[in-house]
Symmetry: C2
Subunit: 246 residues, 2 copies
Amino acid sequence: MLPGHPPFQERLIRRFSALTALDAVDVAQLKDIAQRSIRLNAGRELPVQIQAAHSRLLVLDGWLARTKCLRDGRRQIIGFYVPADVVELDSRPDFPISTNVAAVNDAVLCPAPTSAGLMDAYGAAAVLDHAFLYRQVVRLGRMSAFERVKDWMLEIRDRLGRTGMGEPNVFGLPITQELLGDTLGLTAVHVNRTLKSLREAGVLTWRSGIVRFLEQDALSTEGPAAAARLGERGTADRAASRLLSI
Amino acid sequence: MLPGHPPFQERLIRRFSALTALDAVDVAQLKDIAQRSIRLNAGRELPVQIQAAHSRLLVLDGWLARTKCLRDGRRQIIGFYVPADVVELDSRPDFPISTNVAAVNDAVLCPAPTSAGLMDAYGAAAVLDHAFLYRQVVRLGRMSAFERVKDWMLEIRDRLGRTGMGEPNVFGLPITQELLGDTLGLTAVHVNRTLKSLREAGVLTWRSGIVRFLEQDALSTEGPAAAARLGERGTADRAASRLLSI
DNA sequence: CGACAAGTTGATGTTACTCAAAAGTGGTGG
DNA sequence: CCACCACTTTTGAGTAACATCAACTTGTCG
């Protein structure tokens, strides 16, 4: 655990308290999870027997990634799991797509306790994760490399921040540029060049595992709301007629 | 309703029966939904009051799209809802991203009945939809335009096929090339060129709203399973060392 | 038929990829 | 402590894929 990071129990309590009201039983369960921990070394996939034995795991420490590799070696990282995230393991073998969960660095997980308040929190966390998946689709489908990296960094900053990891505009990012490329649909080389241009544009720096946002207006790549109908099209400015809310 | 398509009650029963065992009550509820139907004209967004009043809707007829528009007018279609799909409406205003649901063509929906068996089916459908979202991420992040269009067509063929819409390799596709471009992160012009190359490659044709797959091996753009660890890398062939299951 | 949306094609521009190599980083053992 | 190794980051040069801009054609519906 890095200095400046709260212990994992505190991170879990902080995060789930923000999602739902926890009672004494919920908190007691969270404080009691360390002994059932599952360790996963960097690069290792979550073993099948673990996935079969549990439907839901909590991330206590380390980062994990949900990945999909095509048979020619191309890899897509669908998303990362950071400390205090909930890993849902309900996938079936007969799926339209099968993915894997692997540890990005040495990670510690545990079976998710099942008290009522915590179950509520898992539900809320699942809905949030779903929204992040939407955001990932928008990043990949309609953003430039520059925007993708910036938007992803903002997302991770916020996700780490809500468990007390990192200051408002500084956080530790324990992944390689290649992994970021596989997340954002870019090559590692292009990620590197994009980081350079983000640095030169005064947006952020990322050195020796620490990301610093330099702008004060580093809030969002999105903007104010507007409204339009699907398929509607202005005769003059087509783009302007399609706006929707952020 | 196009000729050759089963009525919507039959489509719903067919689809949900494949997801879970339905009893007489479930079937009766499905047969009784027509009178509560919600009509949505092509291009119209799902009204806020409908989203507030219901947590889940069933698509009886027509296609809908979940969209996200950036403030400069770029639009991403996150996914489509086709007849017999379940639209979950649990998003909150304070989300990391806000999306809209709009009708692609004249559509009919209804509030989802809540018998026990159907609730099971909705859960299974939600898990499936989640997997399709993963697939969308992989398409956008790591596939060429050619592969994206082909893979998406296969997905839609399968999704329509399981409710009896369309023959094994022929189905109606009631959208424009521009909408497909907004789905696959491409311009309408490039979608058009890609369709031409798919035609010339003997993969599929799409004329006057009908898609026909021409290959008999049109099963999947993915392939056999392999195994690797995140971050592992062969000294000789890096790509080959990263394979994972389909 | 006329009007408008959708599809098609060509020419050109830009973004990101590929291949290649050098320089930096961290760990490990002599 | 240093040498070595593997990995990662960085930069350059050339290329491929996709976007953009601008016509023109086809289809659809009144």
